[in-house]
Symmetry: C2
């Protein structure tokens, strides 16, 4: 099934990688992401980039997708210090790393997660469903459900519109393995994502007291609120200890890992 890669196609692919790398470097150094700057860093002129992206927004989408992928890989790696059989621990580690990333790299976070999705743009709308981080988190939630059997609404209990939405979902989640009558769990996906996204966005954009932000207590409290609904009450103290660990580690070794 390997695509017949001609030499040209390989070169083109390499250029895409270079575009992403140059963009990431730019953001890393606090510069603005711009077609001209990316091109210059690659030793090209700006119009040449139009062979690869149709416009600036597409560059942003491309970079956002790859940043999301790279960041998710890091949380996933961090989460692997707990075994696959302990999805709850993995989940709280991933959430905390997600927050930490959003705080350390607010510009990248803004790019990936505050990037508004306009109504009509079908292309970008579909991008919604391929977010790597989204799939990672929902897969973890699924694993938690398999292990702890937390309750989720039956289809009948859902609002009609929501029922349609969970039956034919447009969110970044693998759903093939979920029987239609069990799709109520997607409602938990959405609600918990909303909670996580909310507190992290608030903190990342700095719209709260800086001391509270530094303490991590707002985030911690939000996680704590979700321990019960996810059937993890028996694990509460252990999970919160993990969160505290991660927060403390981040405070002491801020900026250790690239």
């Amino acid at each position: 099934m390997r695509a017949p890669v001609s030499r040209r196609e390989r070169q083109r692919e390499a250029t895409y990688d270079e575009i992403v790398a140059a963009s990431a470097a730019l953001l890393d150094e606090g510069e603005d992401l711009s077609l001209r700057a990316v091109a210059a860093r690659m030793g090209m002129t700006a119009p040449a980039l139009y062979r690869y992206v149709a416009n600036y927004q597409q560059l942003v989408d491309l970079v956002a997708f790859e940043l999301d992928r790279a960041a998710t890989a890091r949380w996933a790696e961090a989460a692997e210090r707990f075994d696959e059989s302990d999805p709850a621990a993995r989940l709280v580690v991933a959430c905390t790393r997600f927050r930490q990333w959003a705080l350390e790299r607010p510009r990248e976070f803004q790019l990936v997660f505050a990037n508004p999705v306009a109504e009509h743009e079908t292309e970008r709308r579909e991008l919604l469903t391929v977010s790597t981080s989204g799939c990672y988190f929902t897969d973890l939630l699924w694993a938690v459900q398999e292990r702890y059997r937390f309750p989720y609404p039956r289809l009948d209990d859902l609002d009609e519109t929501v029922r349609e939405a969970v039956l034919e979902p447009l969110i970044p989640a693998r759903t093939e393995h979920i029987a239609p009558e069990e799709r109520g769990i997607l409602w938990i996906y959405m609600r918990s994502w909303s909670a996580l996204y909310g507190v992290v966005t608030l903190e990342s954009t700095g719209h709260c007291d800086p001391r509270v932000l530094a303490s991590g207590q707002l985030f911690r409290a939000t996680i704590a609120d979700w321990i019960g609904p996810l059937g993890l009450e028996a694990e509460r103290s252990r999970l919160l200890a993990i969160v505290d660990d991660e927060l403390a580690a981040a405070r002491s070794g801020a900026g250790t890992a690239g």
Copy 2:
């Protein structure tokens, strides 16, 4: 105590108003906010605006502040269909209107609430504490507390950093009337603001299923989660009915009021 307003000062004040008006008109028509466009709309050239704002960011801050004030006035007016003695009803109306505003005017919402606050900029940091909407919501929460006496943490129960933060708060809230030993209620202010901000930002930026967004169920569920903690359990069905009313009204008469 009225400042000695000279003719010049009055004229200057009027120009500020015109700047805000022109900016609002610009955003209203879907145009981008820019110094040049604002100036042109006022029959001026861009450099002239530098007599009034030091740079582009200051223009944004100025406009954001006024947009926030105007929007808050509208929610407050809508909330007044319930009497002052019914702060819970006022609160849910205001929250729902806040959400509706964020959905109808995502650009303005982004300007006011997603506008990142950098660490070092003391000026803008202080702006945090003068958000009209912030004060309005916290005042409502205070009224709810006075009437329903919901529980809030004692100072001893708070994390040390958080305790410092509530004792010398940097959030948009009137706090003079709150005794230091009762400042634990500020933690409720922050947490509920986080929840409201979170779900509204998620919906406003479109990072969720459009059908779920249209249904308003994600928002409704978030409100429902806070009914208990705010001591309003006895009022649950009435309050949710109010939310549903507001949501339905917004759906049918979308864009009725300017």
